[in-house]
Symmetry: C2
Subunit: 307 residues, 2 copies
Amino acid sequence: MSLRLGIVGYGKIARDEHVPAIAVTEGLELAAIATPEGAEAAVPVYPHLAALLEGSPDVDAIVLCQPPAARFEAARMALAAGKHVFLEKPPGIAVSEVKMLGAMAQAQGLTLFAGWHSRWSSAVAELKAWCAAHPVDAVRIVWKEDVRRWHPEQAWIWEPGGYGVLDPGINALSILTEVMPEPFRVRSARFEIPDGRATPIAATMQLEALSGAPVAVEFDWRQTGPQIWQIDFSAGSQQRRFAQGGEDAASLTGNEESALAVEYRAMYRHFRALVLAGASDVDCRPLEIIADAFLCGQVETVAPFED
Amino acid sequence: MSLRLGIVGYGKIARDEHVPAIAVTEGLELAAIATPEGAEAAVPVYPHLAALLEGSPDVDAIVLCQPPAARFEAARMALAAGKHVFLEKPPGIAVSEVKMLGAMAQAQGLTLFAGWHSRWSSAVAELKAWCAAHPVDAVRIVWKEDVRRWHPEQAWIWEPGGYGVLDPGINALSILTEVMPEPFRVRSARFEIPDGRATPIAATMQLEALSGAPVAVEFDWRQTGPQIWQIDFSAGSQQRRFAQGGEDAASLTGNEESALAVEYRAMYRHFRALVLAGASDVDCRPLEIIADAFLCGQVETVAPFED
C-alpha cells in the first residue's frame, strides 16, 4: 500500500525535486497538489491546503514546500487532520514553532520530518566518517553565491522570516551539525542587511565546538564570479574539503540537478521509513545556531539591493 | 560546613542584592570577590577570576554578576577548576553557550544555576497556582521603564550581547514561562534600535501558547512617567494582573529593594539546595523566546539615544 502524498506550495523546488523524487520512490505516490497559482498536473490541484484536505481526504501525508513563514499554520492544520508532515528547509521562521509542531505530532502519533536536503549526499556520509576518525580542530565555511542567479523573483527571501542569505547558508550549517555531532556555541555574528529589506545579504559568524574547535562562517549573496559552497576541515596536519555538488564547486552547475535529485530521493526514502516506524525526525540545531547569531549579533545596514 | 562563594563582577546588583542575600542565608559564606575596579570588602578582592581561583583555591562556587557577554568564558574557567556556578540573568549572550555550560557542568558533576530572580516572589507562586486552576486564554505583557533612571552609565547594555530593553523584558518572559509551563512560539516581533547602537530601545512581540492563547508583549525603555511592569492574564471572564513589586506598579519605588531582596534570598536557598543535591537548574526558555524573536523579527532604526 503506497503512502499518498499531498504537496502544498508548487514552486521551483516542488516541481524540480519533490515531484520527480516521489515518482521514483517505492511506496510513495503523489495524490494531490495545493497552490494558489494553479498547475497542470495528473493529480487534483487545489487552491490551498484546506481545500486539499476536503477534496482528497485519503492523502496520508502533506509535504510543505511553500515559503517558511506560511509553514507553521499549514503543518498544524495537516497534523490536526491526522496527516504526517514533511517540512522543506528551513522548517519554519522560529525554533519554537518547529518544536511545537514536533510536540503536536508526537501527541497525535504522527510523523514530522524536518528535511535538510544537503545532509543526504554520499559526500556528507563520507565526511562524517572522516570527522569521526580525525579530531577536527578548525572549520571554515564559505558559502558565496549570486542571489540574482539562484533566487530570481523570490520576494519572500527579503521579508521577515525569509532568512536572506541564511536560506542557502543554513544548508552549510545542516552539514556541519550532521558531520560533527557535538554541540556548537555562537561567539559572535555580523549581518549586512540592505537598506529597506528585512533579511541579510551577507553574514559572518564565529562558532565554537564543545571540543574548542573554532568555526569561521562566511555567507555572501553578492558573489558574481565563481560560485563557492565549501567547508574546510582541519585535523592536525590533515585537511578535508567539502564542496557542494562535487570536488570542484566552480564547475558545479552541470552536476547540481543530479546531486540534488540524489538528496531528495534519500530524504523521501527516509520519510517513508519514519512513517512506517511511527517515528519523527526534527533536528532544530541549524536553526538554533542562526537564532543565536541574531540574538548576539551586530546588524549593519548596507546599500539597497534591487533584483 | 558552609559553601564558600566567590563573586565575579562587583557592580550594583552584586553589592545591592548578592552580598546581603549571601550574608543572611544559612550555609553560605562570601569568601572572595573579583573585580577589575577593586573594592572595599572584608574578604580578599582580586582583579579577575583567574587570580581569585589562584589566591582563594578553597572557594566552592563562583557567582557571575558581570555583563552577560563575559559570562561564558568565566563560567567555563570556574567549572574547569571544579567550582559550582551561579549565573546572573540573562545567563549568557546565546542559548547555545548556556546549554554548553550545562553540558560541561553535568559532565563534571557540578551544579550550574541560571538564576531568573523575578520568578522567586510569592506573587509569582500565587500566580502560578491561579494559572493552573484557570485556563488562560490571553496574556498581555507591558514592561515600560525609563532606561536613564534604572540603567545609568551601563554602556554594555547597548553593545552586541547587551540585550537593550530585553534585559529587563526577559524578567517578564521568565515569569510567563514559570507560571504557564506550556511551550510558546514566536509569531512575529519588531525591534526599534537607536541609530548607532546595537540593541533595542523598544520591542513588541506576538507569542502563542501551545493551547492557542495569544501573548502580546510590549517593552519600552523610553517611559518617563509612571513606570509599568505588568502582566495581565485572562481566563474566560476572569482577569488577573501581576505587577512587579506589588499591586500598584506606579508606587513601586519604595518597595523594590525589599521585593528584590526576597527574590535573591530565595535564589540563594535554591542554589545551596541544588549543590547539596548534586543537581543543576538551567532553564533557557526566556532566552529561546528572545533568540526566536530576533530570528523572525523586523528591525527598525530609530532616533539616536544619548545617555
